[in-house]
């Protein structure tokens, strides 16, 4: 009996030591494999979304997270020019709330935003249990164990990169927005037909958005839920679901699919792909409307006259060139 107890204890101790060594190795490898810059060439995933690393420390006041609807429909440069607010879109294609949470944690390592805008479409993305586990891991331990994200960098790893500290140099003029001047109209029926029915928000999304809310509260950040106009991914049932979700948590929610005349929105000119995503024209209209809302409800500083932010004016000029205005 005593012998078997000792054997069991020895097995448990050995297992713990083995796991500890493995963890240390993974942490070391994560440091070695992680891109040391945020340029495309450095191998970082979604360089546009991670441009905040190279913005001056604590210079971004508004952060937008979410999926492609967010990086297509929100224009930080428009917000800057019209209101003088500094913002960054750290949205990614198919980003789900767990991805938004992970991104927010990365943002907080170098920025101190006053407001986080979460685009809500990603809350309805269906993910299986396996994906949820991976997402949960990434949102909690994704940064220290970045070897799981960047393991494929072994192909391009240079010795000089292995041990040096990260130094971020990318400069994203659009501050994370994806520009598209393409116009493809949506000429179908009105998709926001009023109903009392509600879609179900997947429980994992609910749990994760609650975590985002918690993180924001811990850091004194306001959280705003926002839905960009999108015919193909949005409807009234989803509106009702998010409205109820927001009400239960006392969070503000703006659904830009309702009363689109408020911001002069036109599906025949403002979409790049027939009603799924906005083009730059649509993004400008939407962002100006959001800016008015922010001006009314939040106390965000206007930096347009601040010489420390003069580079934003330069970026705005470049942005205008890119959108061909």
């Amino acid at each position: 009996m005593e012998k078997s107890k000792n054997t069991l204890l020895s097995c448990v101790v050995k297992s713990i030591v083995f796991i500890l060594i493995l963890t240390l190795l993974l942490l070391g490898l994560s440091y070695m494999m992680a891109p040391k810059d945020n340029t495309k060439e450095s191998g970082i995933i979604n360089p546009n979304a991670t441009g905040f690393y190279s913005e001056p420390k604590n210079s971004i006041d508004v952060v937008v997270v979410g999926n492609s609807d967010a990086y297509s429909g929100f224009s930080p440069m428009e917000l800057w020019n019209s209101f003088g607010y500094t913002s960054y879109v750290s949205a990614e294609g198919l980003q789900v709330p767990a991805g938004s949470l992970a991104m927010l944690k990365r943002i907080l390592t170098c920025q101190a935003p006053k407001l986080v805008i979460l685009e809500t479409d990603g809350m309805f993305t269906k993910t299986d249990v396996s994906q949820n586990i991976i997402n949960a891991f990434n949102s909690v331990l994704g940064e220290p164990f970045s070897v799981f994200r960047y393991h494929n960098r072994w192909k391009k790893l240079k010795w000089k990169d292995v041990l040096r500290k990260p130094y971020y140099t990318a400069h994203c003029v659009t501050k994370g927005q994806m520009l598209s001047n393409k116009v493809k109209e949506y000429s179908g029926k009105e998709y926001m037909i009023e109903t009392d029915e509600k879609d179900k928000i997947p429980p994992f999304s609910v749990m994760t958005v609650d975590k985002i809310k918690e993180l924001c509260e811990e850091n004194g950040i306001e959280l705003l839920l926002l839905e960009m106009p999108s015919e193909s991914s949005w409807n009234y049932k989803r509106h009702n679901a998010v409205k109820e979700f927001a009400k239960e948590r006392d969070l503000p929610f703006i659904d830009l699919n309702l009363d689109r005349d408020r911001f002069d929105f036109d599906w025949t000119t403002d979409s790049r792909d027939g009603g799924n995503h906005l083009n730059t024209r649509g993004a400008r209209k939407v962002t100006r409307f959001i800016g008015e809302y922010l001006q009314k409800h939040y106390d965000l500083p206007d930096y347009r006259e601040d010489p420390a932010y003069s580079v934003w004016h330069e970026d705005y000029k470049e942005y205008l060139k890119q959108i061909k205005i």
């Binding site: 097995c11 494999m33 995933i45 249990v129 396996s130 070897v147 393991h151 072994w154 192909k155």
Partner: protein, 529 residues
């Protein structure tokens, strides 16, 4: 929930191991049964009913067979020799009828769900040729998970009971667990009742050795699947999808890489499956024995998907070759033909049945039939030409047992297998024909070195990773072929060497595995049958 997915490996398998060991010994089989049905339900909820139906059918058939046998054993004592003979004949027919009904039912389900779309489509096309208007309705049927595997296990069980190899088990849970055991339900191995059923019910606690060896085997399987097979997949998918645009070199490399992919993936999956079972102290039959060391196609099929080959041998080959009608044919052939042909023709006829079954087991389609016939043709040719080869060898004074000759035979077998795998992977028989045609007419040898191959969805580093992975597997295989048990060798080393090997394996999977950004999870090929 693929066997290589994180949800299977960590929460699912972890929870089942903990629950299994936390239960009193006599209830542990319940944990395995419940876990098996949950696993099935999570993967294929709507088709669980077919597994339950097949289980009920073979269980009831087994009970009936027992009753008939018991009745016969009881009655025969009071009968004279002639009476016993009469009764035995009646009982024989009764048993045959029950066995046939059970087989008809389970194979009927398999045939309908798996082959109806293919058969109805071909019959309709035939009717169209005859200008007949009546057609069979086209149905979209869901193929139950693992039906091709558990149906063979169920059939093997009921045939064994019928043949009197063992008595049918009266424990419904035991039969149900034997057919549904979660590690083997998706891709086999196709086990026999007397190989695994008792082990499943024993409920032995997981020992430290079972756990560590099980985990090692799972890791080795993940290495093969994620580092080699999944990394080769983009190249293979691209080449076979756009075969009409590829050069002969790309198609040839595609064929070789697919052979590597399917071996690493299937044998890797078996390592994960056998390792999973080992966590519970259950030993499943092995399905691979280093097939690329085979010196002939026959030898290859004794080493590749061993349990399928053994099933076809025991239940198709023997059933056909030992049948009365076949015995008559064999006798006539020996009387009327030369001794060589007299012996060859019965074997060839029985083998024909085996390879037809092998082909259609793999899938419903002409290419699968052609796949079976491809190997049948090679084997038949080998049997026919064997005397000629022997004569040539003698005249040329070749040492047919020598090492050099053995290597030549291994290479020849590998080439034939690559041909078979190319047919297996091609979309249709016609596509396979075009691939072969292009290999011979548009070879473009410069594509070997001008970088063309590095632009087919994988780069030079991927090729290096695949080659290095294959070299490691080859090294391990050589050692195993020479009789070394690598796991025992490693287990005998001191803790630093042991742990270094295990950590290196884990880190190799994490760093060189094809997963994450830019990679879709690749479904196991044999899980789709």
């Amino acid at each position: 929930m693929a066997y290589s997915s994180i949800v299977y490996l960590l929460p699912f398998l972890g929870a089942v191991v903990l629950l299994y060991n936390g239960m009193p010994k006599k209830y542990r089989w319940w944990v395995l049964l419940l876990a098996s049905y949950i696993f099935y339900w999570l993967n294929s909820p709507t088709t669980l009913i077919f597994l339950l139906l097949s289980t009920a059918a073979v269980y009831l058939a087994g009970i009936f067979l027992n009753k008939i046998q018991d009745g016969f054993d009881l009655s025969k004592k009071a009968l004279d020799k002639e009476g016993k003979k009469q009764l035995r004949k009646i009982v024989g027919w009764q048993k045959k009828a029950i066995c046939a009904c059970a087989l008809l039912f389970i194979f009927g389900l398999l045939a309908f769900l798996k082959y109806y779309p293919f058969v109805s489509e071909n019959i309709n096309q035939f009717l169209k040729l005859l200008h007949l208007e009546s057609t069979l309705p086209s149905l979209k049927l869901l193929l139950p998970l693992g039906i091709s595997y558990y149906t063979l296990q169920a059939a093997g069980y009921i045939i064994d009971v019928y043949r009197g190899k063992y008595r049918a088990d009266t424990h419904l849970g035991k039969v149900a667990l034997f057919l549904s055991f979660f590690p083997q339900i998706v891709e086999g191995p196709i086990a026999r009742f007397d190989q695994t059923a008792d082990q499943l019910m024993e409920g032995n606690r997981s020992t430290y050795q079972n756990l560590t060896w099980g985990i090692q085997l799972i890791l080795w399987g993940l290495f093969k699947k994620m580092v080699i097979a999944d990394r080769a997949n983009p190249f293979v998918a691209e080449v076979f999808k756009n075969y009409a645009e590829q050069s002969g070199v790309a198609l040839l490399v595609g064929g070789v890489l697919f052979t590597v992919q399917i071996y690493m993936e299937f044998s890797g999956c078996m390592d994960i499956v056998i390792g999973s079972a080992q966590l519970f102290g259950i030993n499943l039959p092995k399905n691979f024995a280093r097939p690329f060391f085979a010196t002939s196609v026959n030898d290859f099929w004794r080493r590749w998907h061993i349990t399928l080959g053994a099933w076809l041998r025991d239940y198709v080959f023997y059933s056909v070759s030992l049948s009365k009608g076949f015995a008559k044919l064999s006798k006539k052939a020996k009387e009327k033909l030369t001794p060589f042909l007299g012996a060859l023709i019965p074997s060839a006829a029985a083998l024909f049945c085996v390879w037809i079954c092998n082909g259609i087991w793999h899938g419903a389609g002409w290419k699968y039939l052609a796949y079976g016939m491809y190997y049948y043709g090679i084997m038949l040719l080998g049997m026919l030409l064997e005397p000629l080869f022997a004569q040539c060898g003698a005249k040329l004074k070749l040492n047919r047992e020598g090492r050099a000759f053995r290597i030549v035979r291994i290479l020849r077998t590998c080439i034939l297998v690559v041909g078979g795998m190319t047919l297996f992977r091609a979309e249709t028989v016609g596509a396979f024909g075009e691939i072969v045609y292009r290999i011979f007419t548009n070879f473009a040898p410069q594509h070997f070195y001008d970088g063309t191959l590095l632009h087919l969805c994988i780069d030079g580093w991927d090729f290096i990773a695949i080659a290095a992975g294959c070299a490691i597997v080859l090294l391990v295989s050589i050692l195993q072929e020479k009789g070394y048990s690598l796991r025992e060798q490693i287990a005998g080393q001191n803790i630093i060497i042991r742990w270094s090997v295990y950590l290196a394996l884990i880190l190799a999977i994490i760093i060189f595995g094809a997963y994450g950004s830019g990679y879709d999870q690749v479904a196991f090929i044999y899980g789709q049958f």
